[in-house]
């Protein structure tokens, strides 16, 4: 264990954290700067969204968000997220499992490919799919002969959002799984568990908080994605407008209140996401604390 002199000095110094031994004046100025910056950059814009949204009263606000086109935009956004998030969760777990627990040829290439959606600008992602499925694109003319339209439909929106949010779960899990190693799984397999049993009883419980964290980030991005969706949606009001697109459209129509009303809904979704995320982070920290606490130590 630690030597006695250190522990006694920590005991005496306990009320005062040595790192905070600056004069109170310096401390308060630093805190004020930090808080001021956060309020200016984060809280003030958020407050303004709500101020403008309710600027003309609750009646106008409700009318704005109950408009048929707005309702359709909210519906499309939620449906898109409901398809994309489970898809990328399942895929993310499979990919992370493969990368973290197995060695195979082309693994680093796979990791690079998985990071690609983050490296490419969303607008370019949209353009790629226009080039692929557009009337002047590679597959577009063939598909339209069969009467299949992909670009400028909700299907295209789901595809680009799925592409853009693919890395969230994988990235979150790969590092976690690699850190955990595969000893527990090997033990389970040795004891006669099947592959699926091992995954369900050992791997999944180990990664669950990381998984939820990835899912939340994926969901937030799926709802908020703008650039790539703008390119492939065709912006048909009430049909292929998602919430971010609809906010921009209302703003361009000089409907400031309506635009901020929809923006406030998206902001509320973001706040819900953040709250869930904080809970998850707290859980992760707690689990780690328990894990290290149980650890007999070196």
């Amino acid at each position: 264990m630690s030597n006695p002199s250190t522990s006694s000095s920590t005991a005496r110094a306990a009320p005062i954290n040595p790192s905070a031994a600056e004069s109170p004046w310096v401390r308060w100025v630093l805190i004020a700067i930090a808080l001021g910056f956060i309020s200016l950059v984060l809280l003030l814009p958020l407050a303004l969204v709500f101020r403008y949204a309710f600027g003309e009263g609750l009646g106008v606000y409700l009318a704005a968000i109950r408009d048929a086109d707005t309702v359709a935009a909210i519906r499309l956004t939620l449906i898109t997220a409901a398809i994309v998030v489970p898809l990328n969760t399942v895929f993310g777990v499979m990919a992370a499992w493969a990368i973290a627990k197995f060695e195979f040829r082309g693994k680093s290439l796979l990791i690079t490919i998985l990071d690609m959606p983050f490296a490419i600008s969303p607008v370019v992602v949209g353009m790629i799919f226009v080039l692929l499925f557009g009337a002047r694109g590679w597959l577009g003319p063939t598909l339209s002969q069969w009467g299949i339209q992909i670009i400028f439909t909700p299907i295209a929106i789901v595809i680009v959002v799925a592409f853009g949010t693919m890395p969230f779960v994988v990235r979150e899990l790969v590092s976690l799984m690699q850190a955990q190693g595969s000893e527990e799984e090997l033990a389970a397999l040795t004891l006669g568990a099947s592959g699926f049993q091992t995954f369900r009883r050992i791997t999944l419980p180990n990664i669950k908080w990381g998984l939820i964290y990835g899912v939340i980030l994926c969901n937030a991005r799926a709802m908020g994605e703008f650039g790539s969706v703008y390119v492939v949606s065709g912006r048909i009001r009430g049909e292929t407008d998602t919430m971010p697109l609809h906010i921009e459209a209302l703003y361009n129509d000089y409907l400031l209140t309506a635009s901020f009303a929809v923006a406030s809904l998206l902001a509320m979704l973001a706040i819900v996401t953040l709250v869930v995320k904080s809970i998850v982070e707290w859980k992760i920290a707690r689990d780690q604390a328990i894990a290290t606490g149980d650890d007999p130590g070196d």
Binding site: A68, F152, Y254, L269
Partner: protein
């Protein structure tokens, strides 16, 4: 560990929140999608027309039902005019296009052959059922005494206009100033003179003066936003500048109650004419069995109702009857077109707005 909620439970909370929202919005009384419509056509339009077409579509649906008994619906797509044209070429199944520039519809006709190249002759008034021009938005009482383009070049006047490299309306602003200067130098028959070799020397001198004039206006530009919407924001919300140049119809749209916003509108008497044009995308409409409906829809734009509606949305109507009615709202102006003065949009873009073009030259100095 066992006491902690399962991942599923936690995520259920989040999904439940979303489900609640869905339930609220799916409640009766909102989200009437007119599922009963027998047929629908898609109108791909530009940004500033949403209010106008919303009212027009309802009336057209009523009109069509009275005439044929069929229930129809018009779906709308709005966006930047050029981007909308590209979407149609890439397969956005528009039955009709109602865009800001004839050039955008030309591009669709040339590059994708979805409509014949002579589309512009198929409807009255060059297929432009409403027009617009540029207006000056100034502070109430016009404290800086701004009436015409030359006032923008006066010392100390702060002008708000977006960047012509990124904004469509900013290109119109620029060309309007340029054309105004030519008109001032060459007289009211300047278009004829520009096509007359006998006046070549005068024209060359006038072009030089115009260039100097435009440069002096751009020296007065206080904030150069990237688009019309943000320029309007700069002028109205942030209160910067003495004058904002924007579409006559959009300036009035941006602040329906100009008086309450402490603003007024000045329309310069010599200016540029914008002709937003409309066309049936014939191959798409035919494939979707909508040719009759699409044609009737565009013809409806010339009806008394539509012309009157255009006037209410501050577009300049084209039929005699509506023009007479809105004469007080739209004072008679001397308007020139891009074709007359600049030899068409392609040429104007090439000379003025390409990399290293005239705008780059005068703005860099």
């Amino acid at each position: 560990m066992n006491a902690s909620p399962t991942p599923a439970a936690l995520y259920t909370v989040a999904t439940l929140a979303c489900a609640c929202m869905l339930a609220i919005f799916a409640s009766p009384g909102c989200g009437d999608f007119e599922a009963g419509a027998d047929r629908a056509i898609l109108n791909v339009s530009y940004d500033a027309t949403r209010g106008f077409y919303r009212e027009l579509n309802d009336e057209f649906a009523r009109h069509w039902r009275e005439k044929t008994g069929e229930r129809i619906r018009v779906r709308m797509s709005h966006g930047g005019s050029g981007a909308q044209a590209r979407s149609v070429m890439d397969g956005l199944p528009a039955d009709v296009v109602t865009l800001a520039l004839a050039g955008d519809i030309d591009a669709i006709a040339r590059q994708s052959r979805l409509l014949p190249e002579n589309w512009q002759g198929k409807l009255p008034h060059n297929s432009a059922p409403y027009t617009s021009t540029l207006g000056f938005l100034v502070r109430k009482g016009n404290p800086r005494d701004i009436h015409t383009w030359s006032d923008l070049a006066r010392e100390g006047i702060q002008v708000i206009t977006p960047n012509p490299r990124t904004s469509g309306v900013a290109q119109w602003n620029y060309l309007a100033m340029w054309g105004y200067a030519l008109r001032r130098e060459l007289g009211s028959d300047f278009v004829a003179k520009m096509n007359d070799p006998a006046h070549a020397r005068d024209v060359a001198r006038a072009q030089q003066v115009a260039r100097e004039f435009v440069a002096s206006v751009y020296r007065n530009v206080a904030v150069m936003d990237s688009g019309a919407r943000s320029a309007t924001n700069t002028f109205i919300q942030r209160g910067i500048g003495d004058v904002l140049i924007n579409w006559e119809n959009e300036s009035l749209l941006g602040s329906r109650d100009l008086d309450a916003a402490g603003l007024e509108m000045i329309v310069p008497t010599v200016s540029i004419l914008a002709e937003p044009t409309v066309a049936v995308v014939e191959r798409t409409a035919e494939r979707r069995g909508n040719t009759d409906l699409a044609r009737a829809y565009l013809e409806f734009l010339y009806s008394d109702f539509a012309q009157d509606l255009a006037g209410r949305y501050y577009f300049r109507p084209v039929t005699e009857k509506a023009l007479t009615k809105y004469a007080h709202q739209f004072p008679a102006l001397e308007l020139f077109t891009v074709d007359e003065v600049f030899g068409g949009w392609a040429e104007a873009l090439r000379v003025h707005f390409r990399d290293g073009g005239t705008f780059d030259q005068i703005y860099a100095r």
